[in-house]
């Protein structure tokens, strides 16, 4: 089942490539068929899914390269379930939208988009680290072409930068995987085996490997000092590319933290949690400030992504159930609302061929339906209660306030939480200000006066996302329920590895000393 979900888009990509490039109608139909089929199959996953099982479900395990112990092992749990669904949900929308807006080489575009979907789903379901790494890298190729061929002005620069940045992080991760494999001793790249192997590393090696993994994921997220590729990539990517990039690709980093960093290096995660949370908070505030001043809408949303994902990272590295649930939920929410925001900017761009905020103003009067959608999506992105964004951010802040590193650094988590909470305000500032300048007020530019409101295709791209935003905002429990079991397990792992054993040890040690002291005195 999982293998089908993963590879159907690839089959689709190959099929589309065989259609003649003049036949746009057939290309679109087949693209929708394959991405829709993937969505349908991944919805079927929900039926058989056991919510209370913290382990992997629907596993596949086949030998692939027996001599090295590389297996074709896939499975999902409550964490990856939502990521797969998010991917499967956003891709048909991206396909449907680009069938309308991509004029040049539609066939290649859709084929790459489906190829990309295979890579993304593969990342979320693979449980063998070599398999994971392959999907992780494979996905670079289509994204690189999507940005580089169909992108805006500086597309080549952005595409190459994207490729090299992510590649840099991931090759170090490859070395870390290989070292873990060596330490495991038994020939296997299975995640469970490597998890055990990671526990027996020397502390120094463990720290190095932790950072290798961290770097790969942090570049992808991106966590604050590694974020520079993202605004470029987003600005120059075509709309569908941006949707996928923001909606799914960035989540691979945070997913990597949850799936690999935490269970493999619980100790190191704990030790560096304060540092990483601080980076996340710096990212939240810094990116929000930078976003405020952006003249280009896509760049603004790109920076807002950095800011939003800071919340996810903060939540994950709080090691509390609330924080992690919030972080994961926020990943889904961000995928939906930022994806929709990029679609909206793309719709404006298709009409006016500009993304500069100053070229707009008073669009509400001209495109009423569009502005309702924009308003809802923007509010969900800001985190208005009742819409999806709020739940995630709130949970993250609750979790981070009682974060585990409070024990090592009293007061630190409160300071971090307060700072992160201001990030919510900054988020409202840049979003509302942009909305005001673009949509409200008098119509500033004459040429905008005869813009068409959304056509049927564009409406049907936005409506499903908005419906989901509202549904999640009202019934977040639907999403949270399956997450709980695996996340509880993760929290338990981290806490077990970092038991305040030290404190217990200290006390018993003290008793022991006192006892000895007593006996000595008794002797005297």
């Amino acid at each position: 089942m999982l293998a089908w979900i993963t590879f159907i888009p690839l089959i689709g990509a190959a099929t589309i490539f065989l259609i003649s490039c003049e036949n746009r109608r057939a290309i679109e139909t087949w693209g929708m068929f394959f991405s829709g089929l993937t969505l349908f199959l991944s919805l079927l996953l929900l039926i058989g899914f056991d919510v209370n099982n913290p382990g992997m479900q629907l596993q596949i395990n086949r030998l692939w390269i027996p001599n090295l112990g590389i297996n074709f092992r896939m499975g999902i749990d409550g964490i990856s379930l939502w990521m797969v669904l998010l991917t499967a949900f956003l891709t048909p929308i991206a396909v449907y939208f680009s069938a309308g807006s991509i004029k040049k080489d539609l066939r290649e575009f859709l084929a790459l988009l489906l190829f990309l979907e295979t890579g993304m789903i593969g990342v979320f379901v693979s449980l063998d680290l070599v398999l994971f790494y392959i999907f992780w890298e494979v996905m670079l190729i289509p994204m690189y072409f999507l940005i580089g061929v169909w992108g805006a002005e500086r597309r080549i620069y952005s595409a190459v930068k994207f490729f090299l940045f992510t590649m840099f992080g991931s090759v170090l991760m490859l070395i870390a995987i290989l070292v873990l494999y060596r330490e495991a001793g038994i020939q296997s790249f299975d995640i469970e085996v490597l998890k055990t192997a990671a526990q027996s590393l020397t502390p120094r090696m463990a720290v190095v490997l932790f950072w290798f993994f961290f770097l790969a994921f942090a570049i992808k997220v991106p966590v604050f000092p590694f974020h520079t590729w993202l605004p470029d990539a987003h600005t120059d990517a075509p709309t569908a590319g941006s949707v996928i990039l923001a909606g799914v690709l960035l989540k691979m980093g945070t997913y990597g933290f949850l799936r690999f960093s935490l269970p493999m290096f619980p100790h190191q995660c704990y030790d560096f949690a304060l540092l990483i949370s601080s980076l996340a908070v710096i990212g939240i505030i810094y990116a929000a400030w930078v976003a405020t001043m952006q003249p280009d809408m896509k760049r603004l949303i790109a920076y807002s992504s950095v800011s939003h994902l800071g919340f996810s990272v903060l939540g994950i590295f709080s090691f509390t159930l609330e924080g992690m649930t919030g972080g994961l939920l926020h990943m889904v929410n961000h995928g939906l609302s930022t994806g929709a925001l990029f679609l909206i900017v793309g719709m404006l761009y298709d009409r006016t061929h500009t993304k500069l905020i100053e070229r707009f103003g008073g669009i509400t009067r001209i495109m009423p339906f569009f502005s309702v959608c924009f308003l809802l999506v923007m509010l969900s992105s800001i985190g208005l209660p009742g819409l999806n964004g709020f739940v995630g951010e709130f949970l993250v802040l609750v979790g981070s306030a009682k974060a585990a590193h409070e024990l090592t650094f009293p007061g630190a988590s409160y300071i971090l939480t307060v700072c992160a909470a201001t990030g919510v305000i900054w988020g409202a500032v840049y979003m509302l200000w942009m909305f005001q300048r673009v949509m409200l007020g008098p119509v500033k530019h004459k040429e905008n006066e005869n813009l068409q409101d959304l056509n049927k295709r564009e409406k049907w791209c936005l409506i499903p996302i908005i419906v989901l935003c509202v549904v999640i905002g009202i019934f977040p429990k639907l999403l949270i329920k399956p997450m709980e079991a695996p996340l509880k397990e993760l929290v338990r792992i981290v806490q077990q590895a970092n038991q305040p054993v030290s404190r217990v040890d200290q006390i018993t040690g003290l008793e022991h000393q006192m006892h000895e002291f007593g006996t000595q005195r008794g002797d005297q």
Partner: protein, 496 residues
């Protein structure tokens, strides 16, 4: 084990190759220019027979009982099987590639086929030499045809320059090898690899420095042929000047032979000389991967870029020698197979671009996808393979190699390797930028479409691409048997 026997049967593929070469040379004298095509029929048929005899032990999965021939002068063990497989299939592929090209000047068919076959034979002899003297002979038989092939297009000035440069510098390398062998002979009183292996380190304590210098000289000579860093200078010029259709073969056959030899040499000399041997390899490795990749970055000419990148690839391969075990060696074999096919394919495409657009520089690749989508797609596959990006087979060859290195506690070197490979990714994707993202120049799109040079070239290109993709999805098919054979090889080499 029985070393004294002739065991001629073990060398059957080599002997058949030699006979084939002689038949071609002689028949060439007696047939008219019109009938030169029959030479191709002879050589394809002959090569199929050779390939069959070479594959037979591989298919039967039987361990080899007598791993030498001619009283220990040549090894015919598990490594030999793989080297034969790679070299002969590379030869076969490159003959198909160059079929249409050579047929444009049918007069040279005979000599061309003769040189190619002899060159492959030399490579096999070098890699399977059981005696240092045989190694010299092998090196010469490999090199002399290469010198001639480099200048095969006599009317091309660059080709003549390449040939001459290669010849002069190659002679130095041969001199190094001879001097090294002299020193080794002085230290061990033997040139036979088996006897050198059997002599204990303690018996040559006084002569140990001499043995060290000798082995360094031998490695230098091999490093020259393989294009490792301090001895690389000829590579870019020679590759640039050599004909596009065979430069891939020149690159791959030399690498396969050199790394086959290095595997044997390292197994023989490691126990005796040990540490200092490793230092030399480590130095060569670091210099080669870093500088090779760095210099490839600045190239504007694709052929030079591929030449420098071939230096870098030779550097990665050293990691397998350093790792020194069944994992390292089987990784080398996998890498060599993939590399040989890929490098041939990418040079052919470069040649085709020259044919259609008149030059080798990056700008000649502008917008290639618009004019020649298939060529651009094939080039993409080759570039991603060379860059080591999944799902193509190049990823696996790098993964196996780095895995072997990490397993042998060389993780620092593996880190250097992967970081250097990022540089590699940059120059490979630059080609992609040109092909897909830059618009085609005006002059080209209006130009009259030139005919595609040949049906056979096309077939061979597709075949190579299919091999790369299939091995990308199912690398185990080849790798697993390589590991099995190599583990047996290591346990028995060289004493059987």
């Amino acid at each position: 084990m029985n070393y004294s026997g002739l065991n001629t049967g073990n060398l059957l593929p080599e002997i058949l190759l030699f006979i084939l070469a002689c038949i071609i040379l002689i028949t060439d004298l007696f047939i008219s220019e019109k009938n030169k095509r029959s030479l191709w029929d002879i050589s394809f048929f002959g090569l199929l027979v050779v390939l069959f005899t070479a594959i037979k032990p591989f298919m039967s999965h039987r361990l080899i009982s007598i791993p030498t021939a001619f009283a220990g002068q040549a090894f015919t063990d598990e490594l030999t099987i793989f080297l034969r497989l790679i070299i002969i299939s590379a030869l076969f592929a490159s003959l198909i590639f160059s079929y249409d090209w050579v047929n444009r000047t049918p007069k040279r068919t005979g000599i061309f086929l003769f040189l190619m076959i002899i060159c492959a034979l030399g490579g096999l002899l070098l890699a399977n030499a059981g005696d240092l003297i045989v190694m010299v002979i092998g090196l010469e038989i490999l090199s002399l045809p290469l010198y001639v092939l480099a200048g095969f297009q006599r009317e091309n000035k660059e080709g003549r320059e390449a040939s001459f440069k290669y010849f002069i510098l190659g002679s130095f390398a041969s001199a190094f090898l001879l001097l090294g062998i002299a020193l080794i002979f002085g230290a061990f009183q033997s040139t036979s690899l088996i006897q050198i292996f059997q002599s204990k380190a303690s018996t040559i304590t006084n002569a140990l420095p001499v043995a060290k210098i000798g082995s360094v000289l031998i490695i230098s000579a091999l490093a020259f042929k393989g294009g490792l860093m301090p001895f690389y200078a000829w590579i870019p010029d020679v590759y640039r000047g050599s004909p596009d259709y065979i430069v891939g073969f020149m690159a791959s056959v030399a690498k396969v032979a050199v790394f086959g030899t290095l595997i044997r040499i390292s197994l023989v000399f490691f126990p005796v000389i040990g540490g200092s041997f490793l230092y030399v390899l480590e130095f060569l490795y670091i210099a080669t991967v870093i500088l090779g990749n760095l210099m490839a970055l600045w190239q504007n000419d694709i052929k030079r870029m591929l030449a420098y990148s071939s230096i870098a690839h030779a550097g990665y391969l050293l990691l397998g020698i350093m790792a020194h075990g069944k994992m390292g060696f089987s990784a080398i074999i996998f890498y060599l197979l993939i590399y040989s096919f890929t490098v041939m394919g990418s040079f052919i495409i470069t040649g085709l671009v020259k044919h259609f657009r008149g030059g080798y520089t990056l700008s000649h690749f502008d917008g290639l996808y618009k004019d020649h989508p298939i060529m651009a797609l094939l080039m993409t596959i080759f570039m991603f393979t060379l860059a080591g990006i999944p799902p193509f087979a190049g990823f696996w060859s790098k993964l196996f190699l780095f895995n072997a290195a990490v397993s042998a506690d060389f993780e620092e070197f593996a880190v250097i390797g992967v970081l250097a490979s990022i540089l590699g990714v940059y120059y490979y994707i630059r080609v992609m930028v040109r092909m897909y993202m830059n618009p085609a120049p005006e002059a080209v799109s209006t130009q009259q479409k030139t005919a595609f040079p040949g049906f056979f070239t096309k077939i061979a290109l597709f075949a190579v691409a299919i091999i790369i993709i299939v091995l990308g999805f199912f690398p185990g098919a080849f790798y697993d048997s390589a590991t099995v054979f190599m583990s047996n090889f290591i346990h028995t080499f060289p004493l059987g």
